[in-house]
């Protein structure tokens, strides 16, 4: 078990390393560099030379990659091209905000999704299920900016109950984001609930139709005991991986929501950095998102393994 864990960890680290190379190479291949981007028109002659000197851009790419990577390992992500500020600091605040948003969405979304998924799976084809399933498809297909706009229109413009955009500054403590954060959380929770609900629903249906649930019924096991003891432990296994994907998505892929609500998260920072051609920042964020992705999926796989005797015994017996 431990050996397996270490092996997965090692593979995860290699994945992150390869991704970091791709990110670095990608930025490197783009025409221009941090200095041409920052200096724009003035990027010529001595000024450019000086800038390059200062940012160490004259050394070979491989050396710069190794420097960047080993600094990143120590938590030092370098300085941004324009502001001359520590990227780790800038990104740190944004990462916290993203984590706050993600955590709120997860706390609201995951229990709701699992509960509703189980309900609609157990009452398959009944009115509850039809309502929930149709709702889920709606939530999945309507683009986020549309639902976000509608919610802003209803709750902040018409009813005036909730603030429609976030005005708190990026470095403010978490508590100051309430109640501004509520609408973005609702939009995110809706989308992720829809995805998780559908997975849980189909998995519950499959398990409730399985031979072992039929057998438990024929053994005289009371219905709710079948649901909780025989069915759910098996039906919820696939949910672990979907939740992991959702977490990764929440931390890196919710650009649209952040833009609509003016939320100072990682995604928006990435967009800003791209439009400013602030390449060191782009690199840093891409690296963080990739690491989160790998980390979350690794955790999910390990959890699945612990929860699924089929996989667990593979490593603990014999």
């Amino acid at each position: 078990m431990l050996q397996m864990f270490l092996r997965r960890l090692f593979l995860g680290a290699i994945t992150v390393a390869i991704v970091s190379m791709i990110i670095f190479a990608g930025v490197e291949i783009l025409p221009g560099d941090a200095c041409t981007a920052f200096l724009e028109r003035e990027a010529q002659g001595r000024v450019l030379e000086n800038c390059r000197e200062e940012l160490d851009l004259n050394r070979p790419a491989v050396v710069r990659y190794l420097d960047w990577a080993s600094d990143a390992l120590r938590g030092d992500l370098g300085v941004s091209a324009n502001g001359q500020r520590s990227i780790a600091e800038m990104v740190g605040a944004r990462l916290q905000n993203s984590l706050l948003l993600a955590a709120c969405a997860l706390i609201v979304g995951v229990p709701t999704a699992i509960f509703l998924g189980v309900v609609s799976g157990l009452w398959r084809d009944r009115p509850v299920d039809l309502v929930l399933s149709t709702g889920a498809i709606f939530a999945m297909t309507i683009p986020e900016f549309v639902s976000a706009t509608v919610l802003i229109l209803v709750f902040s413009v018409w009813l005036g109950w909730l603030p429609g955009i976030v005005l708190t500054s990026a470095n403010a403590p978490a508590s100051e984001f309430f109640p501004e954060i509520i609408l973005p959380v609702v939009v995110l929770a809706m989308v992720m609930t829809a995805h998780i609900l559908r997975t849980v629903r189909s998995s519950v249906i499959e398990v409730m139709n399985s031979d072992y649930v039929q057998m438990a019924t024929l053994k005289g096991v009371p219905y709710w005991r079948i649901v909780f003891r025989h069915a759910l432990p098996n039906a919820l296994l696939p949910a672990i991986n979907v939740v992991a994907l959702t977490i990764a998505w929440l931390l890196g892929g919710v650009v649209v929501i952040e833009v609509v609500f003016n939320y100072p998260g990682l995604g928006r920072m990435m967009i800003d950095a791209i439009s400013d051609r602030d390449l060191p920042v782009v690199q840093a964020i891409a690296l963080i998102v990739a690491t989160v992705y790998v980390g979350v999926n690794l955790t999910a796989d390990l959890l699945t393994m612990v929860a699924n005797p089929r996989l667990r015994t593979l490593y603990t017996r014999k």
Partner: protein, 677 residues
Amino acid sequence: MTDTPVIQLSDLSIGFTGRAGHTLPVLRNIDLTVRPGESIGLVGESGSGKSTVALAAMGYLKRGLRVLGGTARFEGHDMFALKRRELETLRGGQLALIPQNSGQSLTPTLRIGAQLTEALRLHSRLDPAQFPDRVLELLGQVRLPDPQTITRRYPHELSGGQQQRVAIAMALAGEPRALLLDEPTTGLDVTTQAHILELLRDLARETGMAMVYVSHDLGAIARVCDRVVVMYAGEVVMEGSARQVLTAPTHPYARGLLASIPKLSDPHLPMALGGRPPAPGGAGDGCAFVDRCALASDLCRATRPMLAPGPGGAPVRCHHADRADTLPMSSQGDHAARAEAGTAPVLSLQDLEIRYSRPGLLDRLRGREDTRPATVDDITISIAKGETLGLVGESGSGKSTILKTIAGLLPPAGGEIRFDGDAPLPRSVEQRGPDHLRRIQLIFQNPDDSLNPRHTIAEILEQPLKLYFGLSGTALQDRCVEILERVRLGGHYLDRLPSQLSGGEKQRVAVARAFAANPDLVLCDEVTSALDVSVQAAVLELLNDLKAAQGTTYVFVSHDLAVVRALSDRVAVLYQGRLCEIGPSAEVYALPSHPYTEVLLGAVLEPDPDTAPKLTADDVIELSPPAKGCPFQRRCPRKIGARCDTDTPPWQTRDDGHAIRCHIPLDDLHRQQQADS
């Protein structure tokens, strides 16, 4: 014994609503009475409604099905009128089911101990403090070795036979008055099956428990049941004592079913029952069997026969039951096509050794040899052109492993494979040229796993034709149709998906795909094991025809000794990856036999209520071969002492090529075996 029935189904009809909105019956007017202590066999092809009957007796319907009329009673309770709570106390308690596939019927996330304890908590009057002991007692009762360890295992950590025994133990936990068994031994080894059936017989006799035994295996039915009910297309077509139904059936379908069973005593190919049963609702006004019946008349097409006493007194549903005895009921099929003698070997295996375990990295660096016994070892066989070699042995004996190695899917650890007199075959598929790949084809047990569900039959057949022969356009199309016709399917199957075919049809497509490559050697891995007997007979006939027409060489693997006998020229018996006996089929199936072959043959159940299997007291399937001596030493009933534990027994070969690997001299062996039989 009182005469009030335990289970009584009266005029029970069950059906579902089809796509067009019509009600389609799955069971039609079933009457079935089971008295205390009685064992009833329910036989019929898959889809005939056997499982539905067994589940209905428990008041359970699969999703989508509903009762159209009639009642199902257990000790007077109307099962479909009971409340959920009342059903829960009866089910698993007084009335228990042993499911068709126990592997999938045990909850994967719960330990065996927990699942048995749950059954006790629900239905046992014992004090909870006694549950752990009772669990061990139940597991011991079903002859599971080391019950203590088993309780801590998860279902997937047990073998098929062990899972089946756990399911039986669970059913017995509530001390049931009636036990429903849905194909409880299908797919198990002959030895395991025979032991489980003996166990059930004994239990029923000891406890006076009634049994309903669902199976398409008439051998098993003959062993366990007093009375047999034959079902066809959702109807009871015949009912009577086991002897009457199995020896003098008065319904044409029952006779056909008997004729399609390969029997050990009979070297003929079994006779296939042509056609297939009507889909639910497709039976029309007349007899449901009319399209497949040799006695069908206009009367049969016009009116549905009623269940009425037939010639022997047993109820039968047939207008012409008096003429049924004109139909054959033993396998009068062809003799298998035989190989021409003296041809050069197509395939020869020389000292083949196969291992699944790879030495660990550390051991490899230190240059250490793997000292564990190999999975398969010391296999030397040569197969002549046009010959069929049967390979038999229990599950885990290495049959499929050898086929995989010949096919190049699993490189051998030692020895060599020569094909068609050439230099040794490259060890793995990647190293083999397209010509070799074409000439050696493999057919698997389960067509569902080997046919891509998203490809049409045309796409499946086109692949080898394009790859090996570069066909395209109409030539390709024509060839596909031709191949399909050769396996008796026809061009209208081209656009279908595998899911739209029956099990037998799918297996024919798999055969067709193998033959599309125009192979010299076809490796068949349990190709009929997942099929009904009647379909199995058809597939065997097909393989035999193709062989007669093209001189193809087969290696035919099966755990069913009768099937192997029907098709093979020579048979090799495998135990724990080692050869025990090899020779012409007639010799291998006659005395003298290797002691292991003797155990296998003794466990075969013939569809004849007057025969009993000869079982060895305690044979438990082993997991790994012993390091030295005879591989069969731990189970051998004729073991002669320490020599068997230490010395590898020699091959004793007779003039006809029949060879047995045992320390006992053949003449002695022959004498002992004759004395015992």
